[in-house]
């Protein structure tokens, strides 16, 4: 019988996170005045220990025992050989995945939620606020806060709050206080309700309420928490790849190809960064962040400094972008656009250490359904982007007759996101791909912007 799962014992869990900032140079986040954003600007929002982590260039950062003891509830997460998928594809490729769907909230998100709750507690913070859309991040943070006896307040956009009661129930069960936004608990919320008591709310309003509550607490015992994009979030996620390295060794394999979906960057970075370190030191390995073809940020856009808004008020961040004045093809002929990739992921693409891929929507859900029917777990819609590329690569290996080893991140299950599957299965999802000509038009807006240095790793 072939082994399906490679399991580490609890005492084999990695004891340190890998900080890729020790091995790569990152252009700084610039403020409106052109100077880097300072820790003082962030201090009312995040605890200082996390702000220090955000800027740290130490290669290895110890994972506190109190964090490990909570992560051990579900970690080390299994490394699984996707034997049924291999058979379905009749490929010579050996396909492995890290199963991050086994966490209590069902995704990779508690890897950082637990660490953030711990560091807030250590800094003396008594309450953490956050916002949530569909409730995935709010669930992860509620779970994490419960482990450390920290209060968790989640502002959930009212329209989702009403539609998705199960996420609220999860949060409440873990002791999180999930309230619909706008609420009567902040100035921003009260103003919105005064205007329209029946407003369905918005993500922007929920973020404003969560941050306002943290900043307005005169005792200084409340902070805000974010679950994606930032350096310290990516750092906490590296436990995924560090475990995977040990487990691949148990399997007697090493990946030729690493694949992860790249939304805000954190689940991709979690698996990939420890292998990027190997690549920097000479390993032959291909690493693919995958994004939707209809809203390309990494696959087609240039690397530039770009403004956050047309008023040019916000800081300049080095990132792959379609440009602040990108007009979606909808204005010409239709199109999608998405920004917000983690700057660290953008930097590694710029250096050529990562090779981004784009996949079409129908391809994405077709892959998700195949994985559900072979490996059994219904994947989160985001995970499906990685799966589509895994299938492409496995079929390529078949054509070439090569025994490639593919490793990907199964970032979460989709059990609370089944309407997306319903849309696919009832033929409501259409494909979109921007042409290079359309992207070239968008690039003209960068002409006057300062260009970041094309830095190389250390």
């Amino acid at each position: 019988m072939e082994l399906r799962k490679y399991i580490l014992r609890e005492d084999e869990i990695p004891r340190q996170w890998y900080n890729i900032l020790a091995d790569v140079n990152l252009n700084p986040t610039l403020g409106p005045d052109g100077h880097p954003v300072s820790p003082d600007q962030l201090a009312p929002v995040f605890p200082m220990n996390l702000i220090e982590q955000e800027a740290s260039t130490e290669r290895w950062i110890d994972i506190p025992d109190d964090v490990l003891s909570v992560l051990n509830i579900w970690r080390p997460a299994p490394l699984v050989r996707a034997i049924a998928l291999e058979k379905a594809l009749d490929t010579p490729a050996r396909i492995y995945y890290k199963n991050e769907s086994v966490s209590p909230p069902g995704s990779h998100k508690p890897n950082t939620a637990v660490a953030q709750a711990y560091y807030n507690k250590a800094f003396g913070i008594k309450r953490i606020t956050t916002e949530t859309g569909a409730g995935q991040w709010g669930s992860a943070l509620s779970f994490a806060c419960a482990q450390y006896g920290v209060e968790c307040k989640v502002y959930m956009v009212r329209v989702s709050f009403d539609q998705k009661p199960y996420r609220k129930f999860m949060m409440s069960t873990w002791g999180g206080n999930c309230i619909p936004s706008p609420s009567n608990e902040t100035k921003a919320g009260r103003a919105a309700l005064e205007k329209d008591p029946d407003t369905p709310g918005s993500l922007g309003m929920a973020i404003s309420e969560a941050i306002e509550e943290a900043v307005a607490d005169e005792t200084g015992s409340t902070r805000y928490s974010l679950g994606s994009v930032l350096n310290h979030v990516l750092l906490h996620q590296t436990i995924i790849g560090l475990e995977a390295k040990k487990q691949m060794a148990l399997a007697g394999d090493y990946p030729d190809i690493i694949i992860g979906c790249a939304g805000g960057g954190s689940n991709f970075a979690g698996l990939a960064f420890p292998f990027v370190q190997d690549k920097i030191h000479g390993k032959q390995i291909e690493i693919y962040p995958v994004e939707p073809a209809g809203c390309p940020t990494l696959t087609k856009a240039p690397f530039v400094y770009d403004h956050g808004d047309t008023a040019r008020y916000t800081p300049l961040l080095p990132m792959h972008s379609l440009g602040h004045a990108f007009v979606p093809p909808a204005f010409h002929s239709g199109g999608l656009r998405y920004h917000g990739m983690a700057p660290l992921v953008s930097q590694l693409v710029d250096e050529g250490l990562l090779e981004p891929k784009a996949v079409k929507q129908n391809q994405v859900f077709k892959a998700g359904v195949l994985l559900a029917q072979t490996e059994g777990i219904i994947p989160a819609p985001e995970t499906n982007h990685a799966l589509a590329t895994v299938i492409d690569e496995a079929l390529k290996a078949k054509e070439e007759g090569k025994e490639k080893v593919i490793l990907f991140n199964w970032s979460g299950h989709g059990l609370l996101d089944l309407t997306a599957y319903d849309s696919y299965l009832t033929g409501q999802i259409k494909d979109i791909v921007l042409s290079m000509e359309e992207v070239a038009e968008c690039e003209k807006v960068y002409a006057d912007f300062p260009k970041p240095q094309h830095l190389k790793h250390k």
Partner: protein, 91 residues
């Protein structure tokens, strides 16, 4: 597609992660104006730009078009901006 059909349209919101109606997108932006992603999300379904142009006051449409054409704010910088605004409100 006429207005009646448009009123029935629904899709998964990429920001919220749940199913919403086109009507929601029309009011879920700043100051109850349309969401800045409305063009991105609905162009596949119908000619949303023409629809908005004919249904919104000219200045609202122009503002929305500018916002849609702009890159959304980086998360970290947005947070700093909101925090500074909240501090000012407190004072």
């Amino acid at each position: 597609m006429d207005d009646k059909d448009i009123d029935k349209l629904e899709r998964r919101c990429p920001r919220l992660g749940s199913k919403i109606s086109f009507r929601y997108c029309l009011i879920s932006g700043e100051d109850d104006n349309p969401c800045w992603k409305i063009f991105d999300c609905w162009w596949e379904y119908f000619d949303v730009a023409s629809y908005l142009k004919s249904h919104l006051p000219a200045e609202v449409f122009e503002q929305l078009a500018k916002k849609a054409a702009a890159q959304p704010k980086d998360k970290l910088s947005s947070i700093v901006e909101i925090a500074e605004q909240a501090k000012k409100n407190k004072e």
